[in-house]
Structure formats: C-alpha cells, structure tokens
Symmetry: C3
Subunit: 383 residues, 3 copies
C-alpha cells in the first residue's frame, strides 16, 4: 500500500546530507554512477527506428545489442551484437533476408542467434551462437529484457497507451547523454529545476515555489510526485498553443515506474476550471510527457523523450512548435547533465549532497533503484 | 641569510641525475606532476577579468572557484564553485545583485557563501553554505588563498607594483597549459632555452653561452638567477622598439617568489652604458617580465604573463608590437610544455633527467616547492 | 622441419574456443593487446621517408625513435627520441649537419648518440648520451633492431627483393592503426575476410569458400597459408588491369616471417594456364603483396603496405589504379581494426573467441609470436 511521505521529512539515508542533518562522514564517497538493475524491461528503441533493411546497434546496461525486423511479419529481433568468431560488431554488418552476415568474415546468424554459415567449411561449430534477447513491441516502443530470459514476462511491461492511441498526437526524440542515468532520474523527479534551467520555456516562478506531495509504492516500484499550482503564470508556449489568455491552473503529476518509464501527466486550464464530477475534463488541456530512461553504459544514458497532447491534435503548426520547443528544453537538460557528470568526475571522493523537500521523490527513486539493483544481482533460485 | 650557490656544483639530490653524478637508481621514478603547496597566495585572475555581471570560473590547486565583484564597492568575491545541493557549478549560473542563483534549482548564495534561498520551502538548512575564500586585489591581480583561512595574511602577498604604477605600460595575457606547473617553473628559471625555443625572437646565442649566478633565500622562498651579458647581439624586437643600434649590455635578473610569482628584471643598454653611482639608470631600458604560475589541477597550469616597460610608454606601435611578439613567444612555450607533458605521460616509470649548471635555479625552486608542499600539508597547530 | 597442419584440426590452446571444443573457462580473459617480441628487426620507415634535412619520429615497441641520414654517405641513423636533459623529443628539434640540436635547450648529439654540446658550460657530462639503435636499410625499407644490440645480426633481416628490383613496379603506403598489432596479424593470415570486408574490390565468393592449407616452420618462425582457387571469378581490378577475360586460376600463397614481415605471393592466370615444367611462368601475372606489421605502442600498429607487380610495369594508368584501389582496401581494414579494438576495449574480461579452420594460420602465428615474446624477455646469457 502506498505510503504518503511527509515532504518535510525526506529520507536522507541515501548518501546525501539531509535537511539540517549532520553531515555524513567523509569516508562514504558518493559514487559517480548508479548501478544497473537487471531482470527488467528497458526501452531500446522507438518502433520506427527498427527496420527490415538496416541494422540498429544500441547498448543497454552495458550489453551491446543489434536490432532488426523479420521479413515475414516484421517482429523485432534483438541479438547480442558481437560475432562469436572475433567479436566484430554485427550491427556493422548486413542483412541477408532474416539473417545477419558478419561484415568481417561472413559468419551468418538467424533470428534465434544460431550460426548457420561459416566460411571455408561445411560444418558449423555447435557452440556458434549469439544470445537472443526477449523483446516486446508495445505503444510504439521496442522494449528489451536484460537479465535472465526465463524471468521475462511480457505482461509486466509498463504501458504508455497515449503514445499510440487515437486522439493523441506525439512529438518525440532521443538524446544520448554522457551522464549517469541516476542524474536523469534526479532531474525528472524534481521539476523545480524548470524555473531555473528552463526559464522562458516551461519554467515559471510558481514551479519552484509550489510545494510538492510525494507518494511511494515501494512494492510496485512507483514514485508519484504532484505539484498543483492553482494560480500560475502561463508559460509562453502553452499560451500560444492553447489560446488560453491570463493565468492558469497547472497540475504536474509525475508517475515514475522504476527503472525505465517516466510519465508526467500535465493538465492546464484557465484558473478555476476543474474536471467535472464524473472525472471527465472537457475544458482542460492534457499533455502526457513520457520519458524512457535507459542506462547504456556506465556514465551513459539514452534519453527518450515524447510529448503527447489531446488538444489541437491536427494542428501542424502546434506540432512543429512543440517539437522545436521541447527539443530545446531537452537539450538544456542534456547540456546540464553532461556538465554535471564531468563535474562529479573531477570531485574528490567523499563529497556530499544536501537534500531538501523537493528531493523527496528523487530520493525515493534512488531507494527503489537500489532495491531493484540488489534483486537483479541475486542468483535466481532453482525451483 | 641567502647563500651563494656555486654554479658548478648544483645540488642534484632531487630525482635528477647531476652533472657527472652516478645515475640514481631506476627504482625512484620521476613523478609527472609536482604536488601542490597549500596555505599560499595564488593569482587566480587579472582584475579586469572579474566583473559585476559575469561570473568567472577558475580552478586553483584543484579547488573549483567562482569569482565576481560586489555591486556596492566592487570587492572581489571568491566562493567554492559547487552548489551544496547537487554539485552544479555556480560559475554556470547567474548573478542577482550580489547573490549567485544556481542555474539548476535556484539555490541562492550571498557573498559570504551562505545560502539565502532554496526552492519549495521557506526554511534554509543551516548547513547550506559554500566556502568563501580570502581574496586580495593588488597590483591589478586578484590573489586567492588556498588553505586554512586563519593563516591568510594579506601582508604576505608579494608585490609587483610596476603592473599598476604610473611610468609603466604593460601588455599581458593568460594561457592555460596542459602541463604540470613544475614544468613551467623549470622553463622560466632556465632562460638558456630562449636561444633554441625562441630563436629569432628573444633568443640570441649569448643567452645560452653566458653562465649564470644563482642565489637562494631558503627561508623567504626566493630564488634569484642572474645572467649579465656585457656584449651581446640585440634581439630584433628590442632593436626595433628602443632604437638602439649595435650591440648591447643585456641583464636578466630573475626573482622567483615561490610558489606563484616570477619576476624577470630585464635591462638593456648600449654596450658599456651602466647605471649611475646613485643607482639611477637614465640610459637603460627596463622591462619587467612578470609571470604568475598558478597550478590549476594535476597536469594543468595557468600561465599569466605580463610585460611592463618604462620606455616608449605612450607609443602604441611599440605596445602592439610587444603584445604580438610576446604572445608568440609565450605560445612557443605553451606548445613545448604541452608536448613535454604528453611525452612524460608516456614515459615508463624510472626515467631520469640529467641536470647541469643552467639548472641550478630550477633545482633550487623544486627544493623550495617541496618544502612548501610539506609545510602546507602539515596539520595546523592549535595554540 | 616444417609440419603440415591438418586444417580440420586447428590448435585451439591459445585462449580461443576451438571448433566444437568445450569452452575454455571464463577465468582466462583474452588480453586486448599482444605482448611485444624484443630482439627482433622491425620496419620503422620506408627509405624515402628518412632524409638528410628532416627528422622523422617513430615509436617502435614503445621505444620513441628519431631517424635521419648522415650528410656524407646517407646512412640512416636511429637514436632514442628523448633528450637526456628534460626528456624533450629530439624529433621536434633540428639538424645541424649530422648532429641533432635539441629544440628546447640546445643539447647536441652526434650520430652515435653522444652529447657533444650543452649550454652554459664547456664540460659535457660523461653520462650525457642517448641510445643509438642498430639499423639496416635493405629492399627500400629501414629496419631497426629493438632489444640487445649485441644480438643484432644484419644477416637475419628478412628479404623482400621485389620491392627494389628491376622488373617490378611497386605502389605503397603506411597507415597507423589504433589497434593491437595481433589484430592485424589475424587479419592478414586469414584472407577469407576479403569476400566480406573487401567485396567488390579484391574479394569474390571463392576466397571464403576455398579451403586453405597451412604449413608452420616453428623453428624459423614462418607460417605459410595457401589457397589455390582453380576456377574463380576475376576481381574487377584484375580484369581491368591484366586484360584477362573470363574466369581465372587464382593462387594466394602467404609467407609470414614473424614478427614483422608478411609476404603474399599472388598469381593469376586464365583458367587452366599453369607454370611451365621448369618453373617459369610466362603466362601468369604475379603480384607480391608485402606488409610490414610494426607494433608502435600498446594498441597501436604501423601498417606498411606495398603492392609490387611484374606485369604492365610501365603502365602509369595501372599504377595509379592499383595505388587508389589498394589504398581503399587498406582503409577498409584500418576502419575495421580501429572499430574492433574499440569494441574489445569495452568487453568485459573473460570473453571468448571461436576459431575454425580458416584461423589455423592465425593461431599458428599467435603461437610463434608468444614464443618470440618469451625469448625476447629472457635475460641474455653471459658466455
């Protein structure tokens, strides 16, 4: 059952210095990278990035992967991206129908990862095989399971239906960041940075000023952070694209499904306009901001960002405006996180952070991630 | 009391192989970097680099610092360049009057380093504070004290009055070098390299040929190296800018105040023209070449260079000529030291140097630096 | 005496997983770099790269070297590329006749490496000397001996007479590769990659399909790999440059003299045209492809490539065509090996390779190199 956290009592047992808590000893250095949680689903690509003719290479949790689609039904395939012979990346090779032909010596693999041809001899060594990974394609996303395939349950892939539903229009992109994925989790769980890092775009003074409420469902691994602004300045791009004049009611409801999926339910409406008693909300403007936070390698993360709306869905001008505007905002984060990672890399060990109320959600996320890491590292019990 | 060193007997007990001394064992590798001397004043910036509106980030002895001036009286402020919250560099932030507003989440600091605003709550954690560093602005230089602030005595900042005095005109610049600061100390203490590295500019055959005398004041941490050439070729730029025809008397008197300030008193005059008995020297041309050697991080140094003259002080053509000419010379050093650092970085451990008479000053400087490093690392006695 | 290896039974005791052999333990990681074999001759440069006026810097087996020619008879000189004084690279200096004058402080060395001048004093320290290396210039190549000079026997430098003989025309180049030299040895000993990496250039399906025979002369350190295609497609550039129409007999006879010299004797002729009974071969087209594989530093190798022909020797168009075509092919290898090295650098330790018949020659080469490394590391016996 979810527990409601007192925002004035953030948990500070996570290597950071709590609000007014005595400094933790300098003997406990903050790591510059967050460990990876195995036995989890991760977004490896957008559906449109995986094709029948081109190979797509991506590294997820340090595992090099190559993606393509079968000719017959277009099912996505994910194989380990290293030829068994001399470790050449298969993503630098070519497709021959449903088979990958290694670009160096021609070792050829089918969709199951089995080697079906080697040069210079008829007999295929029986150990010649690359790992095939469980894949689920859903809501325009290609998810891959990193860990023990026996544990992969497609039913547990979290949903983001608005990405691929009628009535919604989505703009999206992906930026690789040279930063620990934990820094991106921090960034997204605490939106008070909008006021400072994204001032003039999505940030207004009210975001930083308005206190948050945080709910944590430890068992499900979900963190919810809400900030409801009753009377706020309307960010220029919202004013321009919704036609609202004057001040607004602005709700930001974060729902983070650790480790990978981040949903931000955004609602704006003229001040005082609330949803109906039956839950419908004809006069609100709803924007679903979706992120997939996919750790690539140590200190590297893929930042998949998507912005879906249920208003002005056919207005190309609004679409192009949102595409450009959100790309700018994402790049502000990318620049800040690249800088922050370089900065942390030059810190002496033993440095400290100081957390306050706004960090309650981020600290809960770190705590859940630490548990998922631990669970993912456990040897699987034999039943 | 200063001791006069016999230039034919340089001390060779500093990890280098002395003139004809038996090689030291290969088991004592030369480090590629010189340790930092704490509890000392260092030049962090020129006065003109620190302003009321822009933040200046500099790293001194591995400490990230941010500099600006107060609105009221323009006093320079130096704070630790990391927000206490998530370590974002404050130098990438903005000023709001005399306060720095962190560019990530808006944590705000006053000139003493105290945090005066955090987002989302009224109470400021009492541990929210960044270090403020003692600063002295003097002779157009901004000095910062790295070490225990209780030991910072503004009276001990060494002077370079010619940089900011009537009767002198100065050209200057700063080049960051990717080299151990010890290599820059070596470079400047042994000017025989002018003949080879700066041939055609400030080097003539006499510089390398003329023996030096060296004086070391161990207690004050000052090394003096003098080379008096009685009958020397006039370097082209001196000939052009002073109007002297024919050969010259050329004196180079180095005065290195370890660890940071290097003064080179240069005097040229036509051959045979000496200072008067009363010490005045109306027929000599005096140039004060000042360097501040400020270690930034391991293997990185700021090379502040200044050239001041008491002749043709209003001649813009001479000023521009000296600015360009000295920049070229400095860049020859920068290129050589960058190369040398890369070279040493690929050396196997246990490599050796061979020192000769010209290195007497540099070896004394290394010895003094080693003592300052040791003193700076000592715990401060409680009185 | 050479032993003929059964191509169906490659030796698999070299850290790789043999054809169908059980996987070796994951506790024995593959190294990413091959150790260096000392007490061997290596090609450091082409004759035309070493001159009387310019200094050439090259690093061989981690030893920084500087090359030039004497004024009198043009003999190549190889000295250690570090000044004894402060380790400045002599290759960044200048020649004064047969002497190198260090570009930093003027320390001057003769062709034996003896220091003959130092600045500021008359006496030269007797330890002031840089190592001079044994050099042999032969067949348009400058070979250097890395190891104990007392063991350097010019008679043991392997020959490649076609590079500098009448009746042959050669195109050549050198590419530095950021890859372990062992990867280049692998690449060249197994030409089945031509079909995949060089398809459309020198690769045709028959290369990958035709089994090889391998002979290893362990004592002499020579590996021979032969692939005789009796009825093969003619690669476009051969068709164009020889005028042969239709299918060909194509022989590829590799002769690798470990560690540095690789010869590929290539013969093509119309199908059925064989050498005469007396060994002459007036109707065959002979191409000698020569490589010198010179380890530079860990993970870096110089790829010297030369293509010599005994046909159309005066045809400039063929020469230019071969120069461009072979450069393209070499760059395909360079790109693949740079990529492979980066790839291996990100592998977790304990990864495995899987070797098959085509690798018989490469595995034999690795075995011989391992022995040469071991012999080169042994202390020399005192007789």
């Amino acid at each position: 059952m979810p527990s409601r956290h007192d925002p004035h009592d953030p948990d500070s047992n996570h290597g950071t210095r709590g609000d007014d808590a005595p400094p933790t000893g300098t003997g406990t250095p903050m790591p510059h990278t967050t460990a990876f949680a195995r036995n989890q689903w991760y977004v490896a690509a957008y559906s449109h990035e995986v094709g029948r003719e081109e190979l797509l290479g991506r590294t997820v949790l340090g595992e090099p992967l190559v993606f393509y689609r079968t000719e017959e039904d277009g099912t996505p395939v994910a194989l380990h991206d290293r030829c068994v012979h001399r470790r050449f990346p298969l993503s630098e090779s070519r497709l021959d129908g449903d088979r990958i032909v290694c670009g160096y010596h021609g070792f050829t693999y089918d969709t199951t990862g089995a080697c079906v041809y080697v040069p210079g001899q008829k007999r295929i060594p029986r150990t010649a095989r690359v790992t095939a990974y469980p894949v689920v394609e859903q809501d325009s996303l290609v998810w891959v399971w990193i860990g023990d395939p026996a544990l992969a349950d497609p039913q547990t892939v979290p949903r983001a239906r608005h990405l691929d539903s009628p009535g919604w229009t989505t703009v999206r992109g992906m930026e690789p960041i040279d930063a620990d994925y934990g820094l991106l989790v921090d960034n997204l769980l605490d939106l008070s940075h909008e006021t400072y890092l994204h001032g003039g775009y999505i940030g207004t003074p009210e975001v930083a000023e308005t206190p948050i409420t945080t709910e944590v469902d430890e068992g499900a691994g979900i963190v919810r952070v809400s900030r409801h602004m009753d009377d706020a300045e309307c960010p220029p791009f919202y004013a321009r694209s919704t036609g609202i004049e004057g001040r607004i009611t602005r709700w930001q409801d974060i729902e983070y499904h650790a480790p990978c999926l981040y949903l931000l339910h955004s609602r704006i409406a003229p001040v005082g306009v609330l949803p109906e008693a039956d839950g419908s909300d004809p006069n609100g403007f709803h924007t679903e901001i979706t992120y997939a936070i996919t750790p690539s390698a140590d200190g590297k993360v893929y930042d998949f960002w998507m912005v879906s709306r249920d208003w002005a869905t056919d207005d190309e001008e609004v679409t192009e405006f949102l595409r450009g505007n959100n790309h700018t905002v994402v790049m502000q984060d990318v620049d800040a996180l690249n800088l922050l990672q370089r900065t942390l890399g030059s810190e002496r060990s033993g440095y400290q952070e100081l957390s306050i109320n706004i960090d309650t959600g981020g600290l809960a996320a770190r705590r859940i991630l630490a548990r998922l890491v631990e669970e993912g590292d456990k040897p699987v019990e034999v039943l």
